[in-house]
């Protein structure tokens, strides 16, 4: 349905929001077709936003930012209390996913997480998949996240990945592809919930008239998933959330989730291990702990097993875990499954363990350790995205089309010197979504991080964190590098 002429002027003769919006060429836009008309599922929403007008919209955008700031929904990269706190920039124009599209994503995510859990269970036990040659042994056992100390330990219910954040992108044909798996301590869900709360407050009308699936049940689902893998009777179990502390950039999220779940937020120094049991120090004496939703990295968990200098962890924690007396969520050792060198083999894991074809595609990947792949990568560096296999957060990568000749030469040398350390992917034209920048709706690239919770079964949060690259032309959505976020609306199935 094209925008009608009478909607081109908003309330009070104010210019409308989206009438001058021009999608980028050769790029999929979340809300508009290439000819500039809104997609069918979002036409109603586009009309609603248009009717608000620019002035009103700007006012509400400011309201939203004020609410996030006052609430302390701030993001600080290891700043101290004197450092500037900023809100994670939030854009009021939502990203919308129709019900039918979401249904496929949901099935695809559950399939993928199921296979990854089976892979981890197998890798830390019989290693059937290595023996049958479906994943090269040197890739899996050489990956930085593989922890040989944990071989033979099977977590409760065989669930290694209780909380997964699977990053999806959308190529120019609109197909959703998995860009990477985050299976250790994925973050961002608190922004999904806070953004939704703000959205409802500042655009109540628009929100009410669109039929959107709720995200507010996430903390309850998380609590259920954690409780279902407790080593003790859930009625007696104590769940805690273990944080590195208030100077961690994600501390807001740790605190938010603990508050929403109604569990205690603890630091390493609040816990101690006695006789392979974990206890928390309380004002009424020590109390046993059964499930730890830990948001500190493997390396820092237990100075007796991993980094000796870790002041964040708990001496003896891994021993208690190995004895089956405490559940760690996510399980230690997951890093091997979200390692970028292992990523190319995930579709094969799905085929191997589930005997199914992958529902979600993923980005074509060249493994520089393979001579043929390496050759291709080195010959086409200017069209490639090169990533260090254990890098994250958008650091340590080469974005070929925008790189200088020197940067290309630098990566050429790095790859030749350490081929196992790199993978490369062709550039994917990430989809765009209209985003309010300097008083104008402009196309900006987005990705999507949905969250998958697994206890005795899996559940996918309908929506997820849409991150947006706020700089024109940028492909980097990471919050540490100038990215912002949007509310993600998964629409209810159609009634008819």
């Amino acid at each position: 349905m094209p925008v009608q002429t009478e909607q081109a002027i908003g309330l009070g003769g104010d210019p409308t929001l989206l009438d001058r919006y021009v999608p980028l060429a050769r790029t999929y836009d979340e809300l508009f077709r290439a000819d500039g008309t809104p997609r069918d599922d979002v036409a109603g929403l586009v009309a609603e936003l248009d009717q608000l007008g620019r002035t009103e919209f700007t006012t509400r955008q400011k309201l939203a930012e004020g609410a996030l700031f006052r609430g302390g929904v701030t993001f600080s990269v290891y700043s101290d209390s004197r450092g500037q706190e900023k809100i994670f920039p939030f854009d009021l124009i939502p990203r919308v996913i129709p019900a039918a599209t979401w249904e496929v994503i949901e099935r695809g995510l559950i399939q993928r997480v199921t296979a990854l859990n089976m892979f981890l269970t197998d890798l830390y036990d019989g290693q059937r998949i290595l023996k049958e040659g479906r994943v090269p042994e040197e890739v899996a056992l050489g990956a930085s996240g593989y922890l040989k100390e944990l071989h033979g330990i099977r977590p409760r219910e065989g669930v290694f990945v209780n909380i997964a954040g699977i990053d999806l992108i959308r190529g120019s044909n609109g197909e959703f592809l998995v860009l990477e798996d985050n299976l250790r301590t994925p973050s961002g869900v608190s922004y999904v919930l806070e953004n939704r709360g703000v959205m409802k407050r500042v655009l109540p009308g628009v929100f009410r008239r669109s039929r959107i699936r709720n995200v507010e049940s996430y903390p309850a689902h998380l609590g259920d998933a954690l409780m279902s893998v407790s080593p003790r009777d859930p009625g007696q179990s104590r769940v805690v959330l273990l944080t590195p502390g208030p100077y961690n950039s994600a501390y807001f999220e740790h605190s938010f989730l603990a508050r929403q779940m109604g569990c205690e937020l603890v630091q390493g120094s609040d816990l101690f291990v006695h006789d392979l049991q974990v206890y928390v120090k309380t004002t009424t004496g020590p109390r046993r702990v059964d499930v730890i939703y830990r948001r500190i990295d493997d390396d820092f968990l237990d100075p007796l097993v991993f980094r000796e200098d870790s002041a964040l962890g708990v001496p003896g924690l891994v021993g208690a875990y190995a004895a089956g007396n405490v559940t760690l969520a996510n399980a230690p050792g997951n890093g091997v499954a979200d390692n970028k060198a292992v990523y190319p083999f995930v579709p094969d894991m799905i085929r191997f363990y589930l005997d199914e074809e992958p529902i979600l595609g993923q980005v074509e990947t060249y493994v520089c350790a393979r001579p043929a792949d390496r050759q291709h990568v080195l010959e086409n560096l200017k069209d490639m995205v090169v990533k260090a296999v254990d890098g994250c957060g958008g650091y340590g990568m080469l974005f070929g089309p925008r790189a200088s000749r020197r940067e290309i030469a630098e990566f050429d040398a790095k790859i030749r010197g350490n081929p196992e350390g790199y993978i490369a992917q062709p550039v994917v034209e990430l989809s765009t979504c209209p985003t309010w920048v300097e008083g104008e709706a402009a196309p900006r690239r987005v990705d999507l991080r949905p969250f998958v919770l697994t206890g005795t079964r899996s559940w996918v949060l309908p929506g997820g964190l849409t991150r947006v690259a706020l700089k024109a032309g940028s492909y980097v959505v990471n919050s540490s590098q100038g990215g912002g976020s949007k509310d993600t609306w998964v629409l209810e199935g159609s009634v008819s």
């Binding site: 302390g72 938010f256 630091q267 120090k281």
Partner: protein, 332 residues
Amino acid sequence: MISRVAGNCFWLNRYVERAGSMARLLRVNRAFVPGVDLPHLHRWHPMIVVAGEEEQYLRRFGEDENGETIQEYLTWDSRNTTSVVESVRWARENARTAREIVSSEMWETLNSLWHWLQGGPGRRLYRSDRDHFYQHIRAMGELFHGQADETMLNGEPLAFMRLGRYLERAGQTARLMDVHYHTFPDEGAIDDPIRLAQWSALLACCSATEPFQKRSFGTPTAREVVGFLLFEADLPRSVSHCLRAARHSLVQVRGYGSNRIGMASTALLEALLSHIAMREGQTIFGVELHDELTYLVDSLTDLCATIEQEFFQSTELQAQLLREELSAAAQQ
């Protein structure tokens, strides 16, 4: 509750109380100083002394006893751990750390006070209408404590908050009263008009002017004011009232569990309460009053350190309790 988090609750409230007290003191002194003929040194110097900052201040500013320098130091200086800004900073850090415990209302009040101080509006008001500036800080402190009582579950976290609030307040009232000694260090007529004017100002600091008038008619005497601020059980900021309120919270906290944790703190607090009860009705002035107030401040410092040891930093005690519990279970 988690020992460390109980500490956050306790300190959060101490810092908010401390910021409010400092704002009260500075505001009242601004009103008191211009109206009386005092030697220059005795106008603002006592503020520095009762804040416990004499040494640091002398080192940084030497003989500069200018009221502006002192107010700037006690309000804004980040090197001064007792300045208003530092108290608010640390209150907010404690609240942020225990964010899952502190109610959203309290957090938003504290967060907006912090941003107000950090950003332009607080500074501008400090320059244009300082009275109003201090008044705002004090009012935000009162709002915060009111919100604690109105928006928190009446459970252990609130009990620790109130414990911190009242112990800090008892100490602050004692410090405030000691301003008198440092302003008039020489012996003299105790009911001298200038001295009485300061006692009235100190009553105002403690929001006690109107309550005092309700209990005492006619021209106030120093004896009545001192007795009122130390012993009046119905005055929210009197030492006696604060200690009783602290006892109430400590009893509540201990009611949640182990008998072992809090024994030493309780003994200290009870001793202090007996001491106050014994002193009630006595006339205390001059050096003797100064010594009494010093004793109170020191005893409160000891008590808070013991609470810290018993409740918040209890690693050894915890391990010992666990061993006892496990061996008792094994014997059964």
